[in-house]
Symmetry: C2
Subunit: 155 residues, 2 copies
Amino acid sequence: MGREIERKFLVMSDAWQAAATGSMLLRQGYLSSNAKATVRVRTTDDMRAVLTLKGAVEGISRAEYEYEIPVADARELLGMAEPHVIEKRRHLVPYGGLIWEVDVFLGRHEGLVLAEVELDDEAQVVTLPDWVGVEVTQDDRYNNASLSRADAIPG
Amino acid sequence: MGREIERKFLVMSDAWQAAATGSMLLRQGYLSSNAKATVRVRTTDDMRAVLTLKGAVEGISRAEYEYEIPVADARELLGMAEPHVIEKRRHLVPYGGLIWEVDVFLGRHEGLVLAEVELDDEAQVVTLPDWVGVEVTQDDRYNNASLSRADAIPG
């Protein structure tokens, strides 16, 4: 098992773009999301696919299990997950010794931009770039499983 | 993707035991079972583990995706699935050119014995052994996900 510890913020400006070092298109769908577990299938640039099981959230961390699966399977599983699918372009932005992931949402969530940063432990001090705004780590409306069920941007 | 086509019956006597050729202990839990998809984790003799995603049932068949995963992960995932876990000993019983699987349930479903046979296509003719009784293929109470949620034997 891995453990995912991450913090998430709204993005307030485009200032991150100058520092972005790469991007990828993520398409991800949810076969299940309940109190016990979230089951996510994700393709990256339609070339690589991962099945991820996440346990219940505890504070800002949760158990996470990832398995690489054939892309052909993933495309079918995304079909099975419809309409609970989201699409976003993820940009990698180094800042303060960490790699920030800036997710620019597409489709029905177009206009939403979130920044995530993964931590080694919950107490880790993070230097916030000035292009991030409100922290939404604990705001369930902004977790991807919720977004996949929502019709539009939360607000 | 594979496709699972199977028929399932109640078992009426122990006459299958004489023909059984082997058995294994299955422990399986459900991280999700909704109209869209069932997500099952299963260990076999606590030595091999498989994560299985099944799509919606169509008649007697459904899409099925199987991925081998580390047993250590599976044990943790079974913990996550609690109390929606069932345990059964599966006996392999050759009959009429097919391998029947006779599942003897343990724990809170002790006393329940089901026989399953996997088919190549939905129209395949099956010779029924005389130790099977009522067919329960379409009886949702006897699917394993339902059993994992039930307190006792259906009836």
